[in-house]
Amino acid sequence: MTKIQLTVDGAKVSDDVEPRMLLVQYLREKLGKTGTVIGCDTSNCGACTVHLDGRSVKSCNVLAVQADGSEVTTIEGLAEGSVLHPVQEAFRECHALQCGFCTPGMIMQSVDLLKDNPDPSEEEIRVGIEGNLCRCTGYHNIVRAVQTAAAGKVSGDAEAGSPAATAETEKVEV
């Protein structure tokens, strides 16, 4: 067992973990942060994306012991109390999901992208999220959500957990 101390979503945590425990396992199984999901377990799908010291990583391909002394932000640490992060809000407003499984990773990666490039072109958005797979949406509304968040056009009046607004949602043509 190896002792680790880190900050997860603003809270200091410390634990004894087996070196082979993956960061995603630690988040889900030890801390109960099941908002971060496992899609592939092989570093391909991006569903498990979190921020490690401010940079996006696939948490299924990082050991928990490697996060010792670091700051980790998961999808559960983005909202400020009951106010959604603008990217979360944009995903909600643009209906950028169907089953929602890829959404935590998509949002974490989109936040990382907008930090580096606050005004990305459509192509830059598509390239920036190329490590995140979505099996449902065809990416159309996801790209729109990132554009909406970048343009600062989210209304931001919704509370976390309120039902998704559907009135302005376009139908995706497949």
Partner: protein, 284 residues
Amino acid sequence: MRTTSFDYTRATSIDEALGALASGAQVLAGGQSLLQSMKLRQASPQHLVDINELDELRAVDLEDGGLRLGALTRIAELCVIAEVAAMFPSLQQAAKLTADVQVRNRATIGGNLCFANPRSNMASTLISLRAEVTVRSDGGSRRLAVEELFSGYLQTVLSSGDLLTDVHLPDPGRDARGAYREISRQPNGVPVVNVAVAVAEGRVTGIGVGGLGVRPLRARLVEEALTHVDVNDPRAVDEAAALLAGDLASTEPLSDMHGSAEYRLEAAVVLLRRLVLATTNERG
């Protein structure tokens, strides 16, 4: 799948890392290939020595008109380091086409080389730039050309006590240009074949090819032929590029589910020809 159990040491000095390696530990850098192999149980090391805390391996310095990159330089950093963009544009192109943002944020240049994937973006590009690496062990340090680092499929000439510490990019020469191209099933995946060409003063100075053989190659016969022909003559360039088949004779051809040996050779010749024409001609 989960990995088998192992001991974990987070090295706080190069000497500590070398000590652990001498007693049989394996290096853990960005973990983007190693953890993957361990989860798939293709590798089950008993002891990992994590080198991520070693700031000495992170330095990026100008060196003899070229650049020295510490082994822990992340591929994401190669995409943004100004000196890389200015002096070695092909390396930046290759970095931007490596994996995706999340993987690039962890993956290191040293780990990419030591994993020895014949289809690696970094290997062929560094070969074209005639880069060298410094390797340290308990017994001292040595320097070798990147093209000499690979002994076979996913195999390097390094022994278990070795730590790759630096990548040295020599002076690219006057009016240096270079480019990297790949054929890939998906843009963020490891390519099927890739080619990198380095040019100075209108002449080709190095060609690296990945995915053609079981190890990345330097196309010496093609390089040599190109020194004698007019690089503005597409027919002459075609003939020189076709000599790639001869360069492949120095190793075993790669043939797998991603492409047959015949396909790979044809594709690499086409990429090579296009790159030479593009980098040696003014409009390129």
